[in-house]
Symmetry: C2
Subunit: 145 residues, 2 copies
Amino acid sequence: MATSPADPLTLEVVELIGTVVARYHQEYEEAAAAHALTGAQARVLGLLTLEPTPMRKIATKLRCEPSNVTGIIDRLETRGLVERRPDPADRRVKVAAPTAEGLATARRLRESLRFAREPLGELTDVERTLLRDLLKRMLGEDAQV
Amino acid sequence: MATSPADPLTLEVVELIGTVVARYHQEYEEAAAAHALTGAQARVLGLLTLEPTPMRKIATKLRCEPSNVTGIIDRLETRGLVERRPDPADRRVKVAAPTAEGLATARRLRESLRFAREPLGELTDVERTLLRDLLKRMLGEDAQV
DNA sequence: TATTGTTATACTCTATAACTATA
DNA sequence: TATAGTTATAGAGTATAACAATA
């Protein structure tokens, strides 16, 4: 507690972060909608492009109940963007994996996410490095998604 | 376009911002849930504590359709946190305003939002000032919510 | 005629609980 | 027994379209 909750500087930074969060979300949803995806569908598809993932693990990463994942994958599968594969090692497990079309959609989606790339263009390399280090320290050692 | 999309430093900062966004949202939803509110309800209640607001204007600020606001205000009103007031100047307009209990709930909610206040405690005043200025430049002149 | 708010409808996301098939 | 995934159910947020009251 080095800082009082009412510290004006801290409150200003908190508000700025709130603005960043709002803008980020807005752009993400818009980019997803431009590909006829919901935000949740886009997030899951993005996850799967990193690595085909069992249903249960998707739920853990999304911090939601496993029953929700069933529906999201259902809808992505209906669209031909994802498929369920059996796990040879454990027949209870179903591994969700992107199709070729799913990979292509995810790539286009990623490229359309201008946010934080365009605004960062306003900064110099030195400033970006500074920002990176400040965010890292703010997030602590465990700064993984 | 001063920066290539593939610039590793930029990508790292984008990822860090993504982490901040994810953590911020998670904490916001948890804080809202701790007060038996959904995220949308908490956001609207927070808005109204700044200023009683016509339904239409709430929709604009939330960037959603006016029909959605009806439901959100309905639920807040049922809980006794918000009330609809007629606008003397235009009888079509209904102004949503927080009740005394709504104001108290909003204040407790605000105080429970530790995010970005606690992590910022890791930084010195100089660093916080630096972070503020970088975020401001990143967001541009129109850095309003 | 245009605008404000509401209703009706449909879809998605969400959690909870019960179910199945495996382990 | 325990675990992975699903189904059923209900509540909430969302958009669209049609509507009543008012401007």
